[in-house]
Amino acid sequence: MKQISIHHLLLSVLFMVFISLPLGIAFISVDESVSQTEKRKLAELPAIDFSLTSLEEFPTAFDSYFGDHFGFRQQIVRTHNYILVKMFGIFLPGIVR
């Protein structure tokens, strides 16, 4: 019973660490403007001025920004490319080998 509890504790803590680290790392690291792995300009942090238009556009712009800047992104993108290229032999445009 105790082992099962340890398993549950471990699973819960690891999950929280897994989903929290990318935000934490993004928060403390300096934003890059260009991705060397993907050879493209990364999205910028959107400004917000509390007008209705700005508030409506902010979520999409923030999704793009955070999608480009979250912690461990480069490693995760490399994993994706590795899975596609090395494991399945798929070469998609935009994937840097």
């Binding site: 082992q3 099962i4 509890s5 398993h7 549950h8 504790l9 471990l10 699973l11 819960s12 690891l14 999950f15 929280m16 897994f18 989903i19 929290s20 990318p22 935000l23 209705l52 508030l55 409506e56 979520p59 923030f62 999704d63 955070f66 999608g67 979250f70 992104r73 995760i76 993108v77 994993t79 994706h80 490319n81 899975i83 596609l84 399945f88 032999g89 798929i90």
Partner: protein, 466 residues
């Protein structure tokens, strides 16, 4: 915001969980409601006010029903409540369709003459309206007590785990949990497990199947070969199942993380429990209690409305009616024949009907749908057996996901769980190995899902018409 997005996984979810367990017990529901409204506003902006309006109206109706005993007054109140909810749904979901119908009947009219701009369909409106209806009807029937706390009712209607893609939860199933729920690592961990399984179903199977289905459905159906047409509809069938079942798993998993135990609404294909239509429409219409004719009428009404619930257009009506027609046929003529078949043949029969009906669910234009069915059954004459786009996408990853899709729509997981778990009873060392292997597998799946989401790979949201 959708669950299968980087912002949800790495910003919204960790912050909400941290804050939820950080604030005192008394503030948890308010926090969860605030987070849910933020979640909705992130994607739907100002339309969050519509949801707040729905909460306010249904709270008012419930509050009144809870205090009045006179039957006629209660009946009036519940009729007003149902009407307002259905009007809300009707205006936002069906106006554009009705305008198109009127414009079609009167050829000199354009849709823009009747409606300056198409009305935006707020995501999830069918889900939260049906939940609200469930609440006021249950209070009217005295199946549950009226909720005095507006935040608690708001949480029932707007709670983010099941807000945009269900499952529809009946109020009396969660009323007690809203007030008092249990938190434990075991419950949280089971939620994590369920959430990761759901996310994997969505990202690793549904999205891969959806990519192929979209490619096929983009082609000219009159030139489609039967093989490609069947491939397209098979992929679409798997996409729908794994998308719906994945979203349900994620919703149930997220619910458990916050202490909710949502009822299971989905099983292996195609056993989704449509209890809402049964309890609030089929049975009140008389169900099967008033003879064959009325039973068939009730079945047709239920499935007509079930089709319309999925989207405001004729193809959804057709899809619903096909299901209603086959249920009626089975009751009247096919039952004896089907009963004589082996279970596996009965499954094949059901899947055959369901898969063919998905053509109408997918293709809005009726003549296009007929062309597609024609392609499936060699009726279109000339066809192109080779298609470069589809050939290029028919890679090893697709084949693997397709096979996994076929395997996991069978009850393999439930079957192996039921057989493996009893073997582990009392065997600590083996149990530890199995649990550790499962944890490693879960995190590998989560990491792979995130890697697919990180590169903005194909990630459709197929509930935008619900």
């Amino acid at each position: 915001m959708v669950f299968s997005s980087i912002t949800f996984l790495f910003v919204f979810l960790p912050l909400t969980i941290f804050l939820y367990f950080l604030v005192g017990k008394a503030l948890r529901n308010i926090l969860l409601l605030t987070a849910s409204l933020f979640f909705y506003a992130w994607g739907e902006g100002i339309y969050v006010l519509l949801m707040l309006g729905s909460i306010a109206i249904n709270y008012g109706i419930g509050f009144y029903l809870g205090r009045v005993n006179e039957h006629a007054a209660r009946k009036r109140a519940v009729i007003i409540g149902i009407t307002v909810n259905l009007l809300l749904l009707g205006v936002f979901k069906y106006t554009n369709w009705l305008v198109d119908i009127v414009a079609g009947i009167f050829p000199h009219l354009e849709s823009s003459d009747l409606l300056a701009e198409p009305i935006h369909l707020p995501i999830g409106i069918s889900f939260f309206t049906f939940q609200a209806l469930s609440y006021i009807i249950d209070v009217y029937r005295n199946d549950t007590e009226a909720q005095n706390n507006p935040f608690h009712l708001g949480l029932y209607i707007a709670s983010f785990p099941q807000l945009i893609a269900g499952p529809i939860v009946r109020y009396n199933q969660v009323a007690r949990q809203i007030k008092e729920r249990q938190h434990a690592f075991a419950i949280f961990a089971s939620g994590v497990e369920r959430f990761v399984f759901g996310l994997s179903k969505k990202v690793l199977i549904a999205n891969q199947m959806g990519r192929m289905a979209d490619l096929v459905f983009l082609q000219d159906y009159t030139q489609l070969s039967p093989g490609i047409a069947w491939l397209g509809i098979a992929c679409y069938t798997l996409q729908i199942y794994f998308d719906f079942s994945g979203y349900s798993d994620m919703a149930i998993g997220l619910g458990r993380m916050f202490g909710f135990q949502f009822t299971e609404n989905f099983n292996y294909p195609y056993i989704a429990r449509s209890t809402w239509f049964r309890d609030y429409l089929y049975i009140p219409l008389g169900g099967n209690r008033n003879g064959d004719k009325k039973t068939y009428r009730n079945l047709f009404i239920v499935f007509l409305l079930c089709g319309l619930w999925h989207g405001a257009s004729w193809n959804f009506v057709t899809w619903g009616l096909i299901h209603g027609a086959f249920l009626a046929l089975e009751r009247q003529w096919l039952k004896n024949f089907l009963d004589r078949l082996t279970p596996i043949l009965r499954h094949f029969y059901t899947m055959f009907i369901v898969v063919n009906a998905w053509v109408f669910f997918r293709i809005e234009d009726m003549s296009d749908a007929i062309d597609y069915l024609g392609a499936m059954y060699f009726l279109n004459g000339s066809s192109e057996p080779f298609n470069l786009h589809i050939h290029n996408s028919f890679n090893q990853l697709f084949v693997l996901c397709f096979i996994l899709g076929l395997l996991f729509c069978l009850p393999i997981y439930q079957y192996s769980r039921a057989r493996v778990l009893p073997l582990l009873d009392g065997r600590r060392s083996i149990s530890l190995v199995v649990e550790s292997a499962k944890t490693c597998m879960l995190f590998s799946m989560l990491y792979i899902c995130v890697s697919f989401l990180a590169v903005h790979s194909y990630n459709p949201f197929i509930y935008f018409r619900f």
